[in-house]
């Protein structure tokens, strides 16, 4: 498993929530935002479309838009503002991404 970025300090008695990250099984806790769920299971959320590497969010209050991830269906989610839910299938790369040529 990739190194988790965030460290849980408290509130660890909550019910587990199973979801997947790029097809890999992952576990979070009920009440985690999707951003936290992803960053206790790994070190990043997405890759910058502009070629400067990985990103792991920035403002956590819905202002910077640096925590966008995707569902397999192609929906874009702002990970800091929505709770993780059982069975979510999250992609850290945009399906059919078309920006690579600009990098």
């Amino acid at each position: 498993m990739p190194k988790p970025r965030f460290v849980r300090l408290d509130e660890t008695g909550r019910a587990p929530v199973a979801f997947t990250i790029d097809g890999r099984a992952a576990s979070a806790l009920a009440g985690d935002t999707l951003l936290v769920a992803l960053l206790v299971n790994g070190s990043h959320l997405r890759r910058s479309e502009f070629g400067d590497g990985l990103r792991a969010g920035f403002c956590m209050m819905g202002a910077c838009q640096d925590c966008w991830v995707w569902t397999a269906a192609g929906d874009r989610l702002r990970a800091c503002g929505i709770p993780v839910a059982e069975g979510m299938a999250i992609l850290t790369e945009e399906p059919e991404a078309t920006w690579a040529a600009l990098a």
Binding site: R5, V36, D52, L54, C59, C64, Q65, G81, P83
Partner: protein, 458 residues
């Protein structure tokens, strides 16, 4: 029904107090909140299922947080509450909102904007590396999610939040590698007369700093940030600064909390066409308000940190005051002594705000010394050199023109995290005073909307 249509944007301390004031006067306001729950950022509620008590979450402010939450709970059923709703535009006497992909226009007789603030950022080489967060983000991770942003965290920037969040991390059991403040300590002495406007807040601040030092955490003042080091495909690895005596110092860490106090969210005031003026104390453009919170546009009121960063206590007073002003303008009788008292509170808070701006100044001077390859726009990875280039070679010495030529401020955060720094960079590159560079105009939608958004059927 048939009463005046009053809309409040934001369910933080200002918005909740404004709503309670209107309800007490027999009005049913609409309260629009982007988040899932009330409380705003400072009194942000933890999600359902979390069990930490108020005193652990809010420390010395626990009673105030509980009172605000109780006030909100008492309003349920007496206000038209719209959570998870983004106010994205303001045009022709209507607030445009979207919720769950459905857009609506809400006409109003009075609008009270309590839009809050976000972190104010100055770039530093490497601030785009994964593991760098705003100070506000570091606090939200802890307060709302019981997480630290890393194993070993450096706090870099200036302002009261720097020491507050570092202390909260230490108390919660996280490892604080260092607290690095760009403001020299002697400025605090100079600002003392203004800071004494709120002696208890000042005392609490001093205790926080003393507590960090007592815990053996390095606390440096007067530093100049050099770089956040690491690799783009892995992690932050450390922070390098020059200390007050010009010596290079490095602190190993795997996360950085970065911020230079706050900036008001003024996009809705801008879209309402409110007049702005330059505030030399904080070196930023602020919407003009009268002592009661009236903007220059009839029927539009501004309160809380979205107008002036007075903090939560000031926001509660300003929210109530703006609601009373709206009631008076709508023709209701309002108790003048209460308004006078609230004006007094806000004036005292504003004196303290100016004191904080003097003690922990926005580090405008850094803009000139940033390296050309430092990223200024995190959204689209545009460098300082590109922005300097359009200012020097293409004559883009006005901020919106600089944005058009360089794309700095045009990305998905819409200039929230680069706008103030971009103005300083253009000013430094062109030799103009900062106020001559102007400010980024707010544009609708104030945050990205899904292309699948549909209009509500009527």
């Amino acid at each position: 029904m048939g009463g005046p249509r009053v809309i409040i944007v934001g369910a933080g301390p200002a918005g909740v107090r404004a709503a309670a004031t209107l309800v007490a006067a027999g009005i049913t306001p609409t309260l629009v909140e982007e988040g899932r729950r009330d409380g705003g950022q400072i009194y942000r509620r933890q999600p359902e299922g979390f069990v930490r008590p108020y005193d652990r979450l809010y420390g010395s402010e626990a009673a105030k947080a509980a009172a605000l939450h109780r006030t909100f709970e008492g309003l349920v059923g007496r206000i038209a509450y719209r959570p998870e709703t983004l106010a994205w535009n303001l045009a022709e006497g209507a607030l445009h909102v979207v919720s769950a992909g459905v857009a609506e226009a809400l006409p109003f007789d009075a609008l009270i904007v309590c839009s809050g603030a976000t972190d104010r950022l100055m770039p530093v080489d490497g601030w785009n590396l994964p593991g760098t967060y705003s100070l506000g983000a570091a606090q939200i991770a802890l307060k709302s999610q019981a997480c630290a942003i890393g194993r070993r965290v450096v706090f870099l920037g200036t302002g009261p939040l720097l020491y507050l969040v570092a202390s909260q991390y230490h108390k919660a059991g996280a490892q604080v590698a260092a607290v690095l403040d760009t403001a020299p300590a002697w400025l605090r002495l100079r600002a003392l007369p203004q800071l004494l406007a709120r002696p208890w807040v000042l005392a609490r601040g001093l205790m926080l700093v003393a507590g960090l030092k007592r815990a053996g955490i390095p606390v440096e003042t007067g530093v100049r940030p050099v770089a956040i080091v690491g690799t783009p495909d892995a992690d932050v690895g450390g922070v390098t600064v020059e200390d007050a005596r010009g010596r290079r110092r490095s602190y190993a860490c795997d996360a950085v909390a970065l911020g230079y106090h706050l900036r008001p969210e003024t996009q809705l005031a801008d879209l309402a066409r409110c007049a702005f003026s330059f505030d030399p104390d904080s070196r930023q453009w602020l919407p003009e308000i009268d002592p009661d919170g009236r903007s220059s546009v009839r029927g539009v009121y501004l309160a809380g940190d979205g107008a002036r960063v007075l903090g939560a206590d000031g926001a509660e007073a300003a929210g109530e005051l703006a609601a009373l002003a709206a009631l008076r303008d709508l023709g209701q009788a309002v108790a003048e002594p209460r308004m006078a008292r609230l004006r007094q509170i806000c004036a005292r808070m504003d004196r303290f705000r100016r004191g904080l701006a003097a003690a922990f100044p926005w580090p405008a001077g850094q803009a000139a010394s940033l390296t050309d390859d430092t990223i200024v726009c995190r959204c689209e990875a545009v460098t300082v050199g590109t922005l300097r280039g359009v200012a020097r070679d293409m004559g883009a010495i006005e901020l919106n023109r600089g944005k058009a030529f360089s794309r700095v401020g045009m990305g998905r955060c819409q200039g929230r995290y680069c706008g103030h720094a971009a103005a300083e960079i253009i000013a430094a590159a062109s030799g103009l005073p900062i106020e001559a560079v102007g400010r980024l105009r707010g544009q609708a939608p104030v945050k990205p909307l899904p292309i699948a958004t549909v209009r509500a059927s009527t």
